[in-house]
């Protein structure tokens, strides 16, 4: 306890040195859990005018974060929309995640490399996204929870020419919204 005093003084000195100090009394307190004020018991269903319906954003944040520790990109060969065997476990992990919450919505975004026409690439990216959507459907994911869209060649993951860049751009990304 004795040793912490000089440290606290130093902090105060720093704050005092700032041109616009922070009034600690006015620092807002956040309640990140957003727990409802009327909690169960005799008051439940009888909240009156002061009742508050709590919204828990932490669940929504989990839904939007997607499965933890799982990749979200499926790569494809040139001119191909065939899902390679090594992508299967990734797709299975996303299927489990989506099925675990009815509010979870995934968008599968198909992409191509820059070679070829923009509209044909849009359609090719769509085919890649559809391939992933169908794979998720076969694993029992509801069609209402997934949408397959395409960005064609418009949003490359990597800029540049050559197979190294191209192979990273031929992909479908699973994102949660």
């Amino acid at each position: 306890m004795f040793k912490r005093i000089p440290f606290a003084l130093a902090v105060l000195a720093l704050v005092a040195g700032c041109s616009s100090g922070v009034d600690l009394d006015k620092v807002p307190v956040e309640d990140k859990n957003g727990a409802p004020l009327s909690t169960g018991g005799a008051n439940a269903g009888n909240a009156g005018q002061s009742g508050v319906q709590g919204v828990d954003l932490s669940q929504s944040a989990i839904d939007k974060a997607g499965p933890q520790g799982v990749g979200r990109v499926v790569y494809f060969d040139y001119d191909s929309y065939v899902i390679k065997p090594e992508a299967q476990s990734l797709i299975e992990a996303h299927a489990r995640f989506i099925k675990a919450g009815a509010a979870r919505k995934a968008v599968i975004e198909g992409h191509t490399d820059e070679r070829g026409g923009r509209e044909y690439n849009l359609a090719l990216g769509q085919r890649r996204a559809e391939a992933v959507r169908r794979a998720l459907g076969l694993l029992g994911v509801s069609d209402n929870q997934i949408e397959a869209v395409s960005f064609g060649e418009e949003k490359p993951a990597v800029q540049g020419y050559g197979e190294d860049a191209y192979s990273k751009n031929r992909r479908a990304e699973i994102s949660y919204r």
Partner: protein, 392 residues
Amino acid sequence: MTQLPIAIAAFRDETQSPQKISAIVQADLERSGQFRGIDTGGVRLDEAARPDVALWRQKGADSLVSGSVVRLADGRYDVRFRLWDVVRGQDLGGQSYVVVQADLRLVAHRIADYVYEKLTGERGVFSTRIAYVTKAGNRFSLWVADSDGENAQAALSSPESIISPAWSPSGGQLAYVSFESRKPVVYVHDVATGRRRLVANFKGSNSAPAWSPDGRTLAITLSRDGNSQLYTMDANGGEPRRLTQSSGIDTEPAFSPDGKHVYFVSDRGGAPQIYKVPSSGGSAERVTFNGSYNISPAISPDGRWLAYISRAGGAFKLQVMELATGNVTAITDSSADERPSFAPNSRLIVYATQQQGREALMTTTLDGKIKARLAGQGGDIREPDWGPYQFQ
């Protein structure tokens, strides 16, 4: 190909105008491939003077344009010109235009149209407009420019990509694909007012809008039933009707000028090829047979030609097919050509390509002999669409 030798004399007092009218007229006529500019030796000649035809014959000219630019008291400009046949010593007529400064380039294009029509018998396209897209940094812009790429005005600016602009047959609206809502959706945009309508935002991707010749119907590509397929819908929006049925990709619709057919790209045979289908639906007929990747069909307004992009040996090249015979000619020596679009007189094609590592727009005659790089905004320039004739 014979090119008509023409002398465009410097217009009297055009140095005091913000636009050098004679230079714009000459560049227009030369870009068409049908004219060759003759060195005038700096001669200034206005529309009132009768030229010394023997002198112009000596210089090698068959015809001559003279004119003047006068700034009026109210700030507008009076631009006048006269066209001479110096072989016969004949006055081929002239015109006067009183316009605001912003329309001086338009006047120059109108003069070029007049000369072109008098001397070739066909309507000129210089006063038409071209739409294109640029990418500069992370900014995408949709531009409406003169047919030479100059005088560009931004119709839309976005942090996300814009592709596939398509002029309505009246020239008042552009349909295009925007990615602003994190997926491709189709808008119809009124160019004069900037008002735009979201016409296709169905589940999945919405893309490749094409207008029917009467302007009432849009053909579009939707993926709402799985893979990309063609649909037609009212240009004002509404319920799409499915036009094609395949298990693969059908996209890039383009109406024939009579409105009876829709040309499109399909990989139903295993690789992308161009097909056509009756616009009321029915069975599709294959149109391209050479090579294993043929995309981006454009039909000339006179119905004679099909321009498209073909991949061969890793290069993407503009091709022109004469529809009556099926004869195909490759007309470029570049290797990243994209998205051809015909001028309304069917004599020129604008297309995107790469030059020195940058995306650029070019025009070419159908035989590939005369090409010109279009001016444009800085950055990469792409996705051209040549607009229709404008009412005067």
